[in-house]
């Protein structure tokens, strides 16, 4: 009689070969699901939602703005977790995953800032205001740029992973501030949470349903790009090792 298979530990996927094998089938599945759900969410939101009685058709920007802003913050949180795993357990895949997540998070932050500015102009009468949430988001974007630049500036991969992990810990303050700034400081123009589990929530289901779908879609876009990016980083690292070995052999 054979013993039942032992459940696989999460740490097994820190092995690059196992990660490549898992992501080989997970990546296409995630990419298709991301395209379908984002498509449904955005088409539903753009074509089939009514105008808001106060904001008119600009309310349709919410289907891009909120998912992008959510992913901008969540990408940094994911990088924080991966950086902590690197610092504590020295798993290379986690450091490379954090590196791969940074450009995705940076673009999500730009989309959130851009759609926010385009939305703010007609509703607030200004493209930009030094509101706590907007300002902390801008600083988060600068942290993304700094993080990407630091990875590129350091030749040794392990040293780069160490230093960027520390930068990621510091930047996490702004990732959290971006999410909670509207609650900490009430003097800003930016509203509080659009979605809430509290009774008497402000958003109608006509908007909430496509918004939730777009949020899941953006989340899956992030996962798909993260998997693809981490695979590229693992290959780049192996390439570097092979080239170094070639040089040593002459």
């Amino acid at each position: 009689m054979t013993s039942p298979a032992k459940p696989a530990s999460l740490w097994e996927y820190a092995n690059p070969v196992r990660f490549m094998r898992l992501s080989d089938w997970l990546l296409p599945v995630t990419a298709v699901a991301a395209a379908v759900l984002t498509g449904i969410g955005l088409v539903w939101g753009f074509f089939f939602t009514p105008d808001d009685f106060r904001q008119g058709s600009t309310v349709k920007i919410v289907f891009l703005h909120v998912p992008a802003a959510l992913m901008a913050i969540n990408a940094w949180i994911m990088m924080l977790v991966a950086s902590l795993i690197w610092l504590i357990r020295r798993h290379h895949v986690s450091a490379l995953a954090a590196k791969a997540a940074a450009p995705v998070g940076a673009v999500m932050t730009v989309i959130a800032l851009y759609t926010g500015a385009v939305w703010g102009q007609p509703i607030w009468g200004t493209w930009w205001v030094w509101d706590p949430r907007l300002t902390s988001f801008l600083i988060l974007f600068l942290f993304y740029l700094g993080y990407i630049a630091l990875w590129s500036a350091i030749e040794d991969a392990d040293t780069a992973a160490d230093l960027t992990a520390v930068l990621c810990l510091v930047g996490s303050v702004f990732a959290l501030l971006s999410r909670y700034a509207a609650f900490f400081w009430t003097q800003g123009l930016h509203q509080g949470a659009s979605l809430s589990l509290q009774p008497g929530t402000r958003m109608d289901w006509a908007y909430k349903a496509p918004l939730y779908i777009a949020m899941v879609g953006f989340g899956l876009i992030f996962v798909a790009l993260l998997l693809a990016g981490t695979r590229a980083e693992i290959r780049a690292r192996r390439m570097k090792a092979l080239v170094a070995r070639e040089r040593m052999q002459g």
Binding site: I61, A228, R231, A232
Partner: protein
């Protein structure tokens, strides 16, 4: 088919077109990088096998 966006049509269209262009650019860049590293690694591995 196109919804009537009223006086905010420019802002809404700009938000959608700009965001989709950025998303497409990001996906294209990641895809290009994936293909480039895969090809380069295959070349190096083939060279290593020949040695």
């Amino acid at each position: 088919m196109m919804p009537d966006l009223g006086r905010y049509a420019v802002e809404v269209m700009a938000a959608y077109i700009g965001s989709l262009v950025m998303l497409a650019g990001l996906v294209g860049w990641v895809w290009w990088r994936t293909l480039r590293t895969r090809r380069a690694l295959e070349e190096i591995e083939a060279r290593a096998r020949r040695r």
